[in-house]
């Protein structure tokens, strides 16, 4: 099956993108390979956390059906962990549902950031992809989409379904059924994989001064609000407020040419041959990488 068929993108559009897109964009296949490598760590993290969730659910007297239904229907780790505590604490259903909405409100930001990449996909596809949107899926998808300059359903599913949904649900069932005989995952350092993966993927999105300032500001605001009020509120506050601080900065001369082009969303048709140059990545790049190597466009032309 071709990439176009798999991703749901018309063949003509793929061809157009391939010829017209900036040479600094990575090829889909190469970006997917990188996505797969990045997904391995996420997969381990999802399995580890899913296991711990299953164990917690078991201790709170959830049946395997209860725990499994939550992992399939809610599919949001923090909200599920919290729900175990709420159920054990005797909270009302209305209170648990309201708190779940509060915890998962950050998904609105994720969906808004991914939406422009997926507007040309059928509505039912977008509706199905929405259910799989998690912290991990967003982190992997946004990095992949930005590397290739457009949306890619197959890439999204790699991060959201293969690397997160499947291991999370299998580990949930393992934890809730035979969890008592499994060693504590944090003994193997699995609890640090999630924050490390989020930090690492954030670095991958830092392509200029504005992104760097937004990332640092987001971390500072999140911790401050998290300590003063609630960690979930901190994450939302960091995600909502920090981009405004980044926007207040003037882009450097090198970044200016890239604004509205490489770093965000599919490239508008009229921007393809406008002569803008792309800024170098903010961090040192591995030589020989199509996306990272400044010489790659020249070699591509020479071929």
């Amino acid at each position: 099956m071709t990439d176009a068929a798999v991703s749901g993108q018309p063949r003509e559009r793929v061809a157009q993108t391939a010829t017209a897109a900036s040479p600094r964009l990575m090829e889909v296949g190469e970006s997917r390979r990188r996505l797969l490598r990045d997904s391995l760590g996420i997969m381990v993290s999802a399995a580890g956390f899913g296991l711990v969730y299953g164990l917690s659910a078991r201790e709170a007297a959830f049946s395997p059906i209860d725990a499994g239904a939550m992992s399939v229907l809610v599919f949001a780790g923090a909200a599920q962990f919290a729900a175990v505590g709420y159920v054990a604490g005797g909270f009302s259903i209305a209170a648990i549902v309201a708190l779940t909405a509060f915890l998962n409100a950050r998904h609105l930001l994720y969906a808004a950031a991914l939406a422009p990449y997926l507007t040309d996909r059928p509505r039912w596809v977008r509706a199905a992809l929405a259910h799989l949107l998690t912290d991990e899926a967003f982190a992997l998808a946004i990095a992949h989409f930005r590397r290739i300059g457009r949306g890619d359903v197959r890439g999204y599913l790699t991060g959201a379904f293969v690397s997160t949904f499947i291991p999370w649900n299998i580990a949930t069932l393992v934890g809730v059924t035979i969890g008592g005989s499994i060693p504590e995952p944090s003994r193997f350092g699995l609890d640090v994989i999630f924050p490390a993966a989020m930090g690492g993927l954030a670095v991958g999105l830092v392509t200029g001064r504005r992104e760097l300032v937004a990332a640092v500001t987001g971390a500072v605001i999140a911790v401050a609000v998290g300590l003063a009020w609630d960690p979930a509120a901190g994450i939302i506050a960091g995600g909502v407020l920090a981009p405004l601080v980044g926007m207040a900065l003037r882009p450097s001369a090198a970044e200016h040419g890239r604004e509205g082009q490489l770093a965000y969303g599919p490239e508008p048709e009229h921007d393809h041959h406008d002569g803008h140059t792309h800024a170098e990545g903010y961090f040192p790049q591995r030589p020989g990488h199509a996306h990272d190597d400044p010489a790659a466009p020249r070699r591509e032309r020479d071929r």
């Binding site: 003994r187 930090g199 981009p243």
Partner: protein
């Protein structure tokens, strides 16, 4: 085997789904104003850094209040970030991060969470 909580799970899924779906399904996202496009571009690094920081630096204490956490996790996450920045390898960063934490806990240098 009980199914008492399946209804709760369905309701939790029902209130979560709109946050995930509305921006993806609402019309007009292909023609956003430039300032909003820039804002959304910066949401990614902001929210991922926020997730990393909160999950490393904030824990809940015995009374379920948020508390500042200092531990080996700082070093592990910092190392992963540095490895990704220099080598562009998330997998290597994650392996090193988990290895440091697991080693420190095995040696009794760091406590289990």
């Amino acid at each position: 085997m009980t199914t008492d909580l399946v209804l709760l799970a369905a309701l939790m899924g029902l209130v979560t789904y709109p946050f995930r779906a509305i921006p993806l399904l609402a019309p007009g996202f292909e023609r956003l104003p430039e300032q909003l496009r820039l804002y959304l571009r910066l949401v990614g690094p902001s929210v991922l850094a926020a997730l990393a920081a909160v999950n490393t630096l904030v824990v809940r204490d015995a009374a379920d209040r948020p508390a500042f956490h200092v531990g080996i996790e700082w070093l592990a996450v910092g190392l992963c970030v540095a490895v990704v920045a220099m080598r562009r390898s998330l997998l290597l960063g994650l392996v090193l991060a988990a290895g440091i934490v697991a080693g420190a806990r095995a040696l009794g240098i760091a406590a289990l969470p």
